[in-house]
Symmetry: C2
Subunit: 336 residues, 2 copies
């Protein structure tokens, strides 16, 4: 299988992307990695330890870069030779089986829509990252920002796509799908969730009903369905609260000698706790509902995170994720 | 001034309500407290220490109670002699200047709408609790659940009402009003926030723009405007994350003797931290946009929380909060 990596995307590009590609190529000999970006920058990094470039890595030159400040739609339309856009085109033209990028999220979603293209029957693709839970298993949440004003039908498609992803790529046998809402009773919510609830009851998924934001971290579902606006509020509230708490802990623990001593004893535990809550640890987020597999790595991804995204992409390709979603959406159910 | 307390509302009713009423009556001699509820239960509690009932406390008998499981609209319509409904009627008929309840939130909002009545010019009243911030000042957030499908005009009215409340009751001179959104740039968000932004720019408030969920706890605004659905997701995510973190901390700290020692040293700091994040500590939440002042105390309020709600109600009455909002809404701006 062939996986295209946007070598110029992310805060640590191109170094981390090349590093991740080298690690992935060494581990999975059956996988061909195509690094897309500025050849003059990628080349020296590939051979910097005087080593030979592995035979399962190649470089596809792309002269432009979409930066974090670029306006997504404008950038994707104008920078036709941007590394992200070229990787998207390779996916579209079946020169790659998946693409990975740690670059500008909005631009990647636009690349998905305008370059890779929607899957037939899907109205709105969805970005599906993992939200950390106390048990470490995480919740796949979608949509997390691709689609701000969703309709009930969109949420029903998210449910199906998320359930298949969780099943095929993350090996959860019968994923519990929950609907993010303000109360657990079926009649609760706004117009969107009230109309989505009966649709989810009819889907070929294991729908467990409404889930409240306060219970997400207890891990009471495997897939969480929400519109992009609510999903963003949820994810960023969790991030903000955890960040604020760690800041407060740090302040309180350095107040005096006694608390400093206590903190020193507890430091290993605290670090473990922080890692547990770091959603970057959960790897890349798939962009579901496109005609090809696109994985978004976190902007601050390091080489290891890129390698993890390759791992995810490999499992998705092996298990024919995109084909399965397409079959479910078009009604031709496949045996899993 | 006369303040009606729904003596039968809340998890610890009627004890905590009577206790709070006694404490408030002792502190503010100019305030007359009317305890509304079952006379046979309130009477003995009022004189349980063999003391005389203070002259600034009276009891208004009400034979029914709305419980936490009652369906709000049905309960308010049918239980005409419920303590909450009777207190609402006293407010409506100017027999009280404010009412306080720790009972069923949905039923209290319904009592506000159907019994007390909306203020002229207000389409949707809003529930406005405080969200804790790192600096301890808190953010007044509205709406938090009264109105699930808000329109831009509703959010504009929330902004005005929240700003006035923060100014008059909480003494913030020039409250910074933020709009809860998925990014800080003016063009960000869903249809609701995109259309609300220009309206807020035109309001007689200090609008500081969009605010992301992750920055709320840093205290970058004094008033946060959002629809009831997003507000619920925000508040419950904060609550859930803080709860999950404290649970994890507790687990990690009891892992072995060394960590137990560290935890014992740090316990006072940890407790302080938990209190800081406890939004119950911030007192009652006003229900703004009604023709009279209604304050919602937390369901698990104790005597002290009820007394704090009386304090808030007193300040609001002294500063003519309801009249000020009414004047602003009807265009007759008053000098503050």
């Amino acid at each position: 299988m062939r996986i295209a990596i946007d070598a110029m995307g992310g805060d640590n590009a191109p170094e981390c992307n090349v590093e991740g590609a080298l690690a992935a190529a060494a581990e999975w000999k059956d996988t061909h990695i195509i690094l897309v970006g500025d050849e003059s920058k990628i080349g020296p990094l590939l051979s910097k330890n005087g080593g030979q470039v592995p035979s399962n890595i190649s470089v596809q030159h792309a002269g432009e870069v979409i930066g974090p400040e670029d306006e997504p739609v404008k950038a994707v339309r104008r920078k036709k030779d941007a590394s992200m856009v070229v990787a998207g085109r390779m996916l579209k033209e079946k020169e790659a089986d998946a693409m990975i990028s740690a670059g500008n999220t909005g631009a990647l979603m636009t690349t998905g829509l305008l370059v890779v293209g929607r899957m037939e029957g899907i109205e709105r693709p969805a970005l599906a990252p993992m939200i950390p839970t106390l048990d470490g298993a995480g919740v796949l949440a979608l949509d997390l920002g691709a689609n701000m004003d969703a309709k009930p039908e969109h949420l029903a498609q998210y449910a199906l796509m998320g359930s298949l992803y969780r099943q095929k790529v993350m090996r959860v046998e019968r994923p519990r799908v929950g609907l993010l809402n303000v109360g657990t009773e079926p009649g609760k919510g706004n117009e969107l969730t009230k109309h989505t609830f009966p649709l989810l009851e009819q889907m070929p998924i294991h729908f467990v009903g409404n889930v409240e934001a306060r219970d997400i971290m207890s891990g009471n579902c495997d897939v969480l369905v929400c519109d992009g606006f609510a999903g963003n509020i949820l994810l960023k509230s969790i991030e903000g609260t955890a960040g604020a708490l760690f800041k407060l802990l740090k302040e309180q623990f350095s107040q005096n000698l006694k608390s400093k001593l206590g903190a020193a004893i507890l430091m290993p535990q605290l670090r473990g706790l922080k890692d547990k809550l770091d959603y970057k640890e959960h790897g890349g987020a798939p962009l579901l509902g496109l005609s090809g597999l696109v994985v978004k790595s976190h902007g601050s991804a390091d080489g290891n995170a890129i390698k993890n995204s390759v791992r995810q992409a490999r499992i998705a390709i092996e298990n024919q994720l995109v084909e399965s979603i397409s079959n479910e959406i078009s009604g031709k159910r496949v045996t899993i």
